[in-house]
């Protein structure tokens, strides 16, 4: 024990005198955990969101009772019936929109706030005491402070006017964009007469779920919380984050590896001296391991704090995306969770184990064979997966194989570059060339981290670019009308007037109906969409195969011909609705058949959607929602004048009339927002990699002291020395960067060819933006060179005599 204590004391003193080293080590060790915590936290928060019911009580919601398809609400009588069933724990919810005094709309949600009223063995407070400063609980709107800020001055003064009546406003964080209130108030504001939007069922087990389903029969639907739209729609978004998390951790692991190396190498001399003085080798090893485990835990904790902060910074962007894109119901806040610390610690320990293993001297022959074997397996695996990958997991494995191949070949390529004959006689350059072969080994972990981070970033860039290009041309065609109007009520009268108007070449509609398809005994929700009565109104749709849309593809049933409909690409790829299938769509007791005639591109949409004519929907008597109209103007019409006229004629607000351009810009903006978080995380990963470069060069610096001192003594000037070392760094980093380009493109290709279609149902062409890729590489190279230069400058500035003396 004394021995261990003394060793630890020595280590402690060492760290006291090398505070910078300790700091570097802790930062390096923490960053990996920080990244994994950030993403893990975002994922965890989103999946936990249903653990609280809408009334913010800690009741895990397991099911929802929703209105029948095509209906908006559940009748009050059904609620009364349900509330009388035994073994059911229910929460009623009523949602809708109300218009404020300033004509803006506010989303509201009504729940049973009576649960907040505590009834206990009271003493002083009397039930019938009014609280004028707080207002009546059931007449109060609870709003997120951000929403209050958005609503402006009056709301900040704690009052909001709806339908001529003023209501108290009370701030409450974490509510998202909806105003929370008692259900009686929501009922009054929405004039719902006791109807409900849905009912939350708490902790319903399977047995009771079955009997409840039977009881609901045709009156309503019972859905599991796990099947909510949010989960499926947010899939691609969180998939992005998950992939990045994995990536980020590996980059962070390299950094941790570097950090451990730094700490161990800096103490080599101390270790030797302790050994000479009589400490046992196993005790020395024990001490290092214990120290690194403890510091690993502390770093995991610090890393988690950092990660949670990062996640909360990003979550505002995430939340905005999810809210606008997927109508997420409440704001996300990432909380500190000890599972993140444990994860960080487990992974730090794994890195430590890898480090210890790497310290064991393995015979070069064996090493070569092992690497060769791994390379072979990776290449074989990549080929096999390339031919057979058909799900998300195998697609990601393909990415992993590609990465492993590059990991193995990069050091060899780097060494090869320095092995070739260089066209120079300069002794200094020739020294640098020979010296580099040793340097590469030392810099390997930082180099591979950079390679990976860059490859991932380029891959993401390729994917995003390709997606953006595909989306652009998709939108170009899809949003080809001149004006889009979205009135509060899209009536038949309005449609007729617009059609008869001499201003418009074409008046399209946008109808949507919710239906279901029975597939393998499972109910598949299918959206039914229509833009008009015939193929002419669907000419803006792009079919796979680029054929123009005609009556062959879409149309109602005629004598001898079945009704025809078109399925979107995700419906085909993910849900298996094939061309030629005759499908039966159901909405409650009503149904409709059609034959799938073709597949169309539908970027951004993940659920199965079918395009039909409006008459098909009408014939089936399906309940549908008419959202608005798309208007194509005749020649020589002034778009602004027409837009103004429409506003005046139909009393439309500016937000209800969209010009093509703004609509497209809005759609693109949503898309960009989705990937903003990915970009931010990519950047963070890149910065971590650059930090790793800096640390590596710093570690290297000490080892370079000897040859640098000798060279300076032999007459090499400081400037010559600096530039030759910089050239060395430049060649290493430039080769890494150049290798990152094909790696990135390959990863991008895998993402586009496999992951996109398998996971989301979208296929698109690979588009490379060389200026972007090369620009990115140059910036990273430049930053990496700065990172490598900083430690070098410090070393070179040293007094030569001192360097010589310390040899």
């Amino acid at each position: 024990m004394t021995e261990l204590r003394l060793i630890f004391y020595s280590y402690g003193q060492f760290y006291l005198r090398h505070k910078g080293l300790l700091l570097l080590f802790m930062i390096g060790f923490s960053l990996g955990s920080a990244l994994i915590s950030a993403i893990y936290g975002l994922n965890l928060e989103a999946s936990k969101r249903y653990s609280n019911s809408s009334a913010l009580l800690e009741n895990p919601v397991t099911h929802f009772i929703k209105p029948q398809l095509g209906e908006e609400r559940i009748a009050h009588e059904l609620w009364q019936l349900l509330s009388r069933q035994p073994n059911l724990n229910l929460e009623p919810v009523l949602e809708g929109r109300v218009q404020l005094e300033d004509r803006r709309w506010l989303s509201i949600r009504g729940v049973d706030l009576l649960k907040w009223v505590k009834f206990g063995n009271g003493r002083s407070d009397q039930l019938n005491q009014s609280q004028p400063s707080r207002g009546r609980l059931f007449d109060t709107l609870f709003l997120d402070p951000k929403v209050i800020a958005r609503l402006g001055e009056k709301a900040a003064q704690q009052v909001v006017k709806i339908n001529g009546t003023e209501y108290q406003v009370s701030p409450m964080a974490g509510l998202g964009h909806q105003a929370l209130m008692d259900i009686s108030l929501a009922d009054k504001l929405l004039r719902a007469n006791g109807e409900l939007s849905f009912v939350e069922v708490i902790e319903l087990d399977d047995v009771n779920a079955k009997s409840l389903t039977a009881m609901l029969a045709q009156k309503a639907r019972l859905e599991s919380a796990n099947d909510q739209a949010f989960d499926t729609l947010s899939g691609p978004f969180f998939f992005n984050l998950q992939a990045l998390a994995f990536l980020g951790y590996i980059v962070g692991a390299f950094l941790s590896f570097n950090a451990i190396k730094l700490a161990v190498v800096a103490r080599k001399k101390l270790q030797q001296q302790l050994y000479v003085l009589g400490c046992q080798q196993r005790r020395l090893t024990q001490a290092v391991v214990i120290e690194l485990l403890c510091l690993g835990f502390i770093s995991a904790y610090l890393g988690t704090l950092l990660g949670v902060s990062l996640a909360n910074l990003l979550v505002t962007d995430v939340g905005r995306v999810l809210r606008s894109f997927y109508q997420l119901d409440r704001g996300l806040v990432v909380g500190f969770d000890y599972s993140m610390v444990l994860l960080g610690f487990a992974l730090n320990t794994l890195v430590l184990v890898c480090f210890l293993v790497s310290q064991k001297t393995i015979a070069p022959k064996f090493q070569k064979r092992a690497l060769g074997g791994l390379l072979g397996v990776s290449i074989a695996g990549a080929i096999a997966l390339w031919l057979n990958a058909d799900n998300k997991f195998t697609a990601l494995m393909l990415c992993a194989c590609v990465l492993v191949v590059f990991f193995i070949i990069t050091p060899s390529i780097l060494k090869g570059v320095f092995s070739y004959l260089w066209p120079t006689r300069s002794p200094l350059l020739l020294w640098m060339k020979e010296d580099s072969k040793n340097q590469i080994n030392e810099l390997l972990s930082a180099v591979l981290a950079t390679l990976m981070a860059m490859g991932a970033a380029i891959g993401m860039q390729v994917m995003v670019n390709s997606f953006s290009t595909a989306l652009d041309s998709h939108l170009q065609k899809r949003l080809s009308a001149d004006l889009y109007i979205r009135p509060s009520v899209a009536s038949e009268r309005m449609e007729n007037e617009l059609t008869r108007s001499d201003k418009f070449e074409k008046v399209g509609v946008y109808w949507q109906a919710q239906t279901e398809l029975m597939q393998n005994a499972e109910r598949l929700p299918v959206k039914l969409v229509s833009f008009g009565q015939s193929a002419k109104y669907h000419s803006h749709i792009t079919l796979l195969g680029q054929l123009p849309v005609s009556a062959v593809h879409i149309g109602p049933e005629t004598s001898g011909k079945l009704a025809r409909c078109m399925v979107n690409e995700p419906g085909w790829r993910i849900y298996g609705i094939e061309v030629g299938d005759i499908i039966e769509l159901q909405q409650g007791a009503k149904s409709m058949s059609c034959q799938v005639s073709s597949i169309y591109y539908d970027y951004g949409e993940q659920s199965a959607t079918l395009l039909v004519t409006t008459s098909q929907i009408e014939n089936a008597k399906f309940a549908y929602e008419a959202f608005g109209y798309s208007l194509t103007l005749k020649q020589h019409q002034d778009i602004d004048a027409v837009a103004q006229q429409l506003k005046d004629t139909y009393g439309l607000e500016t937000s209800q009339v969209s010009v093509n351009k703004t609509f497209k810009a809005f759609a693109k903006q949503l898309f960009e927002n989705t990937f903003k978080v990915t970009h931010a995380l990519n950047l963070f990963i890149m910065m971590i990699a650059l930090f790793g470069i800096w640390v590596s060069f710093l570690t290297l610096g000490r080892q370079q002291l000897q040859p640098m001192a000798v060279l300076q003594t032999l007459g090499v000037t400081r400037t010559q020395l600096f530039w030759s070392k910089m050239l060395q760094a430049c060649v290493i980093l430039a080769v890494t960067t150049l290798l990152a380009i094909p790696l990135g493109i390959l990863l991008g290709w895998v993402l586009l060819t496999y992951v996109m279609p398998i996971a989301f149902g979208w296929s698109m062409a690979l588009v490379l933006s060389w200026p972007d890729i090369l620009g990115f590489c140059l910036v990273v190279l430049f930053l990496a060179l700065i990172a490598s230069a900083l430690p070098l400058i410090k070393l070179i500035r040293r007094n030569v005599a001192d360097s010589v003396a310390s040899l």
């Binding site: 006689r425 002794p427 200094l428 020739l430 020294w431 020979e434 010296d435 072969k437 040793n438 000897q706 040859p707 001192a709 000798v710 060279l711 300076q712 003594t713 032999l714 007459g715 090499v716 000037t717 400081r718 400037t719 010559q720 030569v800 005599a801 010589v804 003396a805 040899l807």
Partner: protein, 218 residues
């Protein structure tokens, strides 16, 4: 010729200023071989570093072969160092380069073309001609020191400064190395200034300068 004129070198240790070289004036003629002796801390290595242009005197002037090196800037000193030979106690070879490359490095830096024949001849002289293509880590101490000597000599310097070149060698090897050094220097009329602890080796030199507390001591 090497001339030191009232040279002082001070170093600040914490709050005190220590004079490591104290008002030293020496003249070493062309081709002269000098042994620099003295106890530890007497300033021998500092003096050598001053002569090598690795340090700049606090006061006074140093002139080597008509170059006033005490007034040189950093770059000029580096260029100056290319024209002299320095031999270290711990050999200080460039680990990444082969023996042949190590030997020819400084000369090539200086702009000389080193012919293989020249290299072979010198290496034979020093008994390391069979080691030209190996790395320094594969040599013994004595062999490494001989590589250091070859590196210094092949440069055709006017001055060779040797700091305890035998410090890491046994007495037999030490004698060999010093004899070799002196012979080579004599042949080419090279000034040799060698720091040594060994009285026996010092006596081999025609001139012995004894330093004590930074001053010459007779």
């Amino acid at each position: 010729m090497i001339q030191l004129n009232q040279v002082t070198f001070s170093r600040t240790d914490g709050s005190t200023q220590r004079r490591i070289i104290d008002d030293l004036s020496i003249t070493i003629d062309d081709g002269q071989q000098v042994a620099l002796v003295g106890d530890s801390g007497s300033g021998k290595t500092t003096l050598l570093n001053l002569l090598a242009g690795l340090l700049v005197p606090t006061q006074g002037e140093i002139t080597v072969n008509d170059k006033r090196i005490s007034h040189f800037n950093d770059n000029q000193l580096a260029l100056y160092r290319r024209t002299i030979g320095v031999i270290f106690q711990h050999y200080q070879l460039l680990e990444a380069l082969t023996v042949a490359d190590n030997i020819s490095f400084q000369a090539r830096l200086n702009g000389f073309k080193v012919e293989r024949a020249q290299l072979n001849s010198l290496a034979s002289r020093l008994g390391i001609n069979d080691k030209l293509d190996v790395l320094p880590s594969q040599l013994s101490g004595g062999e490494q020191q001989r590589v250091g000597i070859a590196r210094a000599i092949i440069n055709q310097p006017k001055v060779i400064l040797a700091d305890e070149p035998t410090g890491n060698l046994d007495s037999e090897r030490s004698q060999e190395v010093v004899d070799l050094l002196q012979t080579l220097c004599s042949e080419s009329n090279i000034n040799l200034v060698m720091v040594t602890h060994s009285q026996r080796l010092a006596k081999q030199f025609q001139t012995q300068l004894r330093l004590k507390n930074g001053k010459l001591y007779d």
